[in-house]
């Protein structure tokens, strides 16, 4: 269970306030107009942005002051999710041991994870020698190995084509289904939100609203969201 208690996050001139709880295992889309603070919210949960006020709790434990790597969080950014000078296997292996001193057992787990995302045979490639979709798969393999209970996605598949993006989201949905992880994903595309997220958080006008069923939110959008969706 993730709790944000009276949290205020500052990003330059604007702030985002959040006060809600998310049940473990939920799949949540974060939607809202551009520049409203979706990324700011996610970054605060991941620990890249300090809270001005309030607390963040995971299963009752206060993680507000924890360093990003010490939180129960795995995160995929918009870009830069792989180190270009390391091989696919090394990149994935970082999820197990950040210093890459892997035992042979751990190496076997890395191979298994890469096979699970469909990258068997490409372990020794560098990310530059992979397609965009394959790079996303490699990053997802690492997330699997990190095995954190909370997965945050800041539109890591935005640069992919529609079909490939849908494929990646299905893979994400399958992975969190297997591990029981909680998923929070920023989305610009209502269809993506409908596709895998049963709940949605609306971030608009400086407030991150509590989660509500995605279908309700998208079928009866409040004015700010309606203007953004352009759904007349």
């Amino acid at each position: 269970m993730l709790n944000l208690e009276d949290a205020v996050i500052r990003n330059g001139v604007f702030t985002v306030t959040a006060d809600f709880a998310i049940d473990s295992g939920a799949k949540i889309a974060v939607i809202g107009p551009s520049g409203a603070g979706k990324t700011t919210l996610i970054e605060a949960i991941a620990g890249f942005r300090p809270l001005e006020r309030g607390r963040i709790l995971w299963d009752g434990r206060d993680i507000t002051q924890d360093a990003p790597g010490a939180r129960p969080v795995a995160m995929l950014f918009q870009d830069g999710n792989l180190f270009p000078h390391l091989t696919v296997a090394q990149n994935a292996g970082l999820g197990l041991r950040p210093d890459l001193r892997l035992t042979s057992k751990q190496k076997a787990r890395v191979r298994a994870a890469l096979a699970r995302v469909g990258l068997q045979g490409l372990e020794e490639r560098k990310p530059g020698a992979l397609s965009g979709g394959q790079q996303s798969r490699a990053a997802l393999a690492r997330v699997m190995l990190q095995d954190r209970p909370l997965l945050l996605l800041d539109e890591p598949f935005a640069a992919l084509g529609p079909a490939l993006k849908a494929e990646m989201l299905d893979l994400v949905a399958a992975l969190v289904q297997e591990t029981g992880a909680t998923l929070m994903m920023i989305s610009h595309d209502p269809d993506d939100a409908r596709r895998i997220a049963d709940l949605a958080i609306l971030v608009a006008e400086g407030v991150a609203h509590p989660p509500q069923p995605t279908v309700d939110l998208l079928d009866n959008p409040p004015p700010t969201l309606r203007a953004y969706l352009g759904a007349g």
Binding site: G47, P68, G69, F83, P84, L86, P98, D99, Q146
Partner: protein
């Protein structure tokens, strides 16, 4: 606090900056403490001060004035070998001064090529020693630098402006007034200040081509007070003058500096629609040809004069070469141990200004001033001559530090900006992030820095002249001694060896850094 989380620790860089600041400020303090005002400056000191300022002003003025037509020609012409020529313009930075001096002597000296040609016409040979020799050598070193700085200004004029000017039917004159003159008004003062600052602290050129009461720089006067009179108080007093001079000039140069001159992208030439008249083509062609000859002829002369001597080099030369290689490796190692952590700290910290200032301190002091200060500190404790090697390596490293940081900091910023969050998110910790991400991704820049440092140290003729006794020499110092003994053939051979070693050191490190490096 989460907002201060950093992928690697800033502490080693802060420690390195403290070491550098302590070393430089300590040496300065020693100089000031030891300086004996006595009866103030005597006439020869005033003469040295005046000569220093005059030669630096002349060198800066000539370098920049000549650089303008060369830079303009390079900016608006495309020709085969343009990229190679621009690369060559960067070469004097790592060219040992003593090698260039020997090359200039072979071309412009009393028995040089130009004098021989003049003799064939029944004219007097050139006289290179004195003010004009010093200025000639400084222009040789700084014309390329000034050209690169000004060329950068030209390249920074957006191509669209030239397109617009062409659309409006502006000819070369109008373009000069509209685009080029305003750009020069911005870049030329910076280039002047940089060259002036460099020439103020010039030692090896003044040592070899100057000298005598009428052509002594302050830097050379420090050396003479030291070597000939062993008058530490006077050397310290002169150092005090030099500190004021360099600090003022460095401040001026930093304020007006247009950029590093290492800038990438200089091999791009802007599409131009003006300046296609035959006369202007001829003018640009002449500017490029003369500049290229001025740079290449002395190097060719060294190669030709040195080759015969290469087979009969005295053993002392090889001994000195071994010393030089040792110092260069030591100095490169020290530099990297200082510069890489400092670059990481500067790249991460929000209030890193003082670390950057510590890194720039090397620009504000001359090698002989630090040398004098260190001598004063060491003298009561140990025999400074026994420490000549480590001291020379250390001073060389500190002198190369400002350049190293200019190369390393932008890359460190980029790597930490691109991957710092990912490293933090993966909980990599400082050690693994350094080993797996920061160092591998900075490898090309570290190699380039190491190459520059090794070549600079290999060719340096400065502090070693203060500290070395008769039994010890680096290769540049040994060449100077051979010149002093009029063994010009051996000196030329040794110079060719030094040139080869410097270039080889640069090439190995630079190449090693880029070998299989990811972009």
């Amino acid at each position: 606090m989460a907002d201060r989380a950093q992928p690697v620790s800033g502490a080693p860089g802060i420690g390195a900056a403290l070491c550098v600041a302590t070393l430089i400020l300590g040496a300065l303090a020693a100089v000031i403490w030891r300086a004996e005002p006595g009866s103030g400056l005597d006439p020869s000191d005033w003469q040295a001060l005046r000569f220093t300022l005059i030669q630096a002003a002349l060198s800066a003025g000539l370098s920049v004035a000549l650089a303008v037509p060369v830079a303009r020609a390079l900016a608006r012409r495309r020709f085969v070998g343009r990229g190679a020529l621009i690369t060559l313009l960067g070469a004097p930075f790592i060219l040992p001064v003593i090698v260039a001096v020997l090359g200039l002597l072979a071309v412009f000296g009393r028995a040089g090529w130009v004098s021989q040609a003049l003799g064939a016409l029944g004219l007097e040979p050139l006289r290179i020693y004195g003010l004009h020799g010093v200025v000639l050598a400084h222009v040789f070193f700084n014309l390329p630098l000034a050209t690169r700085l000004i060329l950068q200004g030209w390249q920074e004029i957006p191509g669209e402006r030239f397109r617009l000017a062409a659309q409006l039917g502006a000819g070369p004159g109008a373009i000069w007034r509209l685009l080029e003159r305003p750009m020069l008004a911005r870049t030329a003062p910076g280039a002047l200040a940089v060259v002036f600052a460099i020439c103020l602290t010039s030692f090896a050129v003044a040592l070899t081509l100057g000298g005598g009461p009428r052509a002594t720089t302050v830097e050379l006067a420090i050396y003479q007070a030291f070597r000939f009179d062993f008058d530490l108080g006077r050397a310290a007093l002169l150092s005090g003058i030099q500190i004021v001079l360099t600090a003022l000039a460095a401040g001026l140069a930093l304020r007006a500096a247009p950029g590093s001159g290492f800038g990438a992208g200089l091999d791009r030439s802007v599409q131009r629609w003006d300046a296609n008249t035959p006369a202007l083509r001829l003018l640009d062609g002449a500017a490029i040809t003369v500049a290229a000859l001025f740079l290449l002829l002395p190097l060719a002369a060294i190669a030709m004069a040195g080759l015969p001597g290469l087979t009969e080099l005295p053993a002392s030369v090889f001994h000195a070469a071994r010393t030089s290689v040792l110092i260069a490796l030591l100095s490169t190692g020290v530099l990297l141990l200082l510069a890489v952590p400092m670059a990481a700290s500067i790249a991460m910290a929000r209030r890193a200004a003082w670390i950057e200032i510590a890194g720039l301190l090397g620009l504000a002091v001359s090698p002989l001033v630090i040398g004098t200060g260190l001598f004063i500190v060491i003298y009561p404790l140990a025999d400074p001559r026994a420490l000549a090697l480590p001291v020379t390596a250390l001073v060389n490293a500190v002198m190369a530090l400002p350049f190293a940081l200019r190369i390393l900091v932008p890359r460190a910023r980029a790597v930490i900006g691109d991957f710092g969050r990912l490293g933090l998110g993966l909980n990599m910790g400082g050690g693994p992030f350094l080993r797996l991400v920061l160092l591998p991704r900075m490898r090309a820049q570290i190699g380039f820095t190491a190459g520059l440092a090794a070549a600079l140290s290999m060719g340096d003729l400065g502090v070693i002249a203060l500290f070395a006794d008769q039994d010890m020499a680096t290769l540049p110092l040994q060449i100077y001694r051979l010149m002093g003994a009029y063994r010009m053939e051996a000196a030329a051979g040794a110079a060719l060896l030094l040139l080869g070693l410097s270039m080889l050191a640069f090439w190995i490190f630079d190449r090693g850094g880029r070998w299989h490096a990811e972009p």
